[in-house]
Symmetry: C2
Subunit: 107 residues, 2 copies
DNA sequence: TTGTTTGTTCAATTAATCGGAACAATCGAA
DNA sequence: TTCGATTGTTCCGATTAATTGAACAAACAA
């Protein structure tokens, strides 16, 4: 099994989080994960949270950046990789940032 | 005189704002402009708000992106170009976003 | 073992960024 | 007006990053 590497919250930088969330595809993923969380979901597979029509290699790279930035956490569940938002940790480290971005009305 | 083009606040996108603020040099500029504003300053010249040691061409490009994203406004004052943060407009359109980023502790 | 599903990694193309050099705008002084 | 100094901008080549098809890997069921 391949282990996913997640940064400790103390090593998460505003830099990386903003870069990660600046991309519309990654923001769509994060929005889907936030919605899932609000519905008491237990996380979503890569495909489930990603915008359709994106090549899977691209989707995979986006998740990779989100994990490296400390925005999401991944665990393997069978053949799928389940991602969850690191919501509480992020909100403790960067108060108000995630809500401000998620609640913003996109163009 | 060269006129600077600034998007109407209604055309400012989260996309562009996040891309603009994802860069550390541009964030440093925005922090300097926010500090100037807090001290009732009337704006800062390009060089005054930019981190030192950056080539002026690079600094100019950063300001260009900040203007295009709708984050700052520019007016020429003699030989200088004075920039100010579009603070109130941004906060009305994306509530809490700018404060969350400005108040975040950088790595 | 074989086939299916879900993601990752590799490698090549494409796009964006950086920064030196030349150019432009403004102003003060001769 | 003309020259020089100051402050930014634009151009363009070089470096760097993002995208994605194709091959590979991991888990599971039959």
């Amino acid at each position: 099994m391949q282990c996913f590497i997640h940064p400790d919250i103390k090593d998460v930088t505003l830099e990386a989080v903003l870069y990660a969330l600046a991309d519309p595809a990654r923001r769509a993923i994060v929005r889907a994960l936030a919605a899932d969380r609000a519905c008491e979901g237990a996380g979503l597979s890569c495909h489930a949270a990603a915008p359709p029509d994106l090549p899977k290699a691209t989707v995979s790279q986006h998740y990779s950046k989100l994990r490296a930035a400390g925005v999401v956490r991944a665990t393997r569940k069978g053949v799928s990789v389940i991602h969850t938002l690191r919501c509480d940790e992020l909100n403790a480290k960067f108060p108000g940032l995630l809500p401000a971005i998620l609640e913003a009305v996109e163009a």
